[in-house]
Amino acid sequence: MKLDNAFSALADPTRRAILARLAKGEATVMELAKPFQMTQPAISQHLKVLEDAGLVVQRVEGTKRPRRLAKAGVEAMDRWLAMLRKALEKNYGRLDEVLAGMEPKKKRGEKP
């Protein structure tokens, strides 16, 4: 997954590490806090950013709130960015031709 590209949420190394951990399976805040040597509120704060970005979801299991990756969110973002890139490359390829046609004459391009 090219998470680096996706969100500012991912600019933070701790959040990237949390996602990498969640990619292996769901985990509670307590389970996440341990390896990162961070307090639970600090982890919760990061999780909130990831949840707001649509990257992580939680479910309710008794008193626990295990978090897992929101695959759809990540894929939607990657897909959106991929389509954006494809669309722009197509348009700009066409624009190159338009520019090649207009530049020498310095007037409105009459030919493609």
Binding site: M83, L84, L88, E103, R108
Partner: protein, 160 residues
């Protein structure tokens, strides 16, 4: 070597850069003169832009209509906020599908770069909710149709 870069900036923006072998004036004009815009801002092959209104002045209106010649179509409306020939354009736009998409605020800069131009476009990223809504629609009613539609949105929305 890719001429184009595309990256997210924060969770709110997408920044695209692209180099062109033409002067900033030419690239700027290709973004503001309807007869030029109609030649390239078309998205997938087979689509045309039969209506192109581009009043390149502050407060000026933008209206682009696309058609695939087979009955499918959609349009975009917008307004110019600032224009500095031939270096900067700021505008807002939204798609009509016919449902309205949220306003996309776009700043486009044109800078001399050797013999050519470096264009930098900074646009609003659809928020997680909007993307989720688009995706949810797609999952319920057929991925293909929805992605085709989403692709239209993106192609159209990102020409400028």
């Amino acid at each position: 070597m890719s001429k184009m870069t595309l990256k997210t900036e924060g969770d709110k923006y997408v920044v695209v850069t692209r180099r062109f072998a033409a002067s900033p004036e030419a690239v700027y004009r290709a973004h503001t003169e309807p007869e030029l815009i109609q030649k390239w801002m078309l998205g997938p092959d087979g689509w045309t832009m039969p209506v192109c209104i581009n009043e390149a002045k502050p407060g000026g209106k933008i209206r682009y209509e696309w058609s695939n010649g087979k009955g499918a179509g959609f349009y975009l409306t917008g307004e110019f906020l600032e224009l500095k020939p031939y270096s900067r354009i700021v505008h807002v736009e939204r798609m009509h599908l016919p449902d309205l998409t949220p306003d996309n605020h776009i700043e486009t800069r044109f800078e001399s770069d050797g013999a050519g131009t470096l264009m930098t476009m900074r646009m609003t990223l659809p928020d997680a909710q909007t993307r989720a809504a688009m995706l949810a629609t797609g999952m319920e009613s057929g991925m293909e149709a929805s992605y085709a539609r989403l692709e239209q949105v993106i192609q159209a929305g990102c020409g400028l």
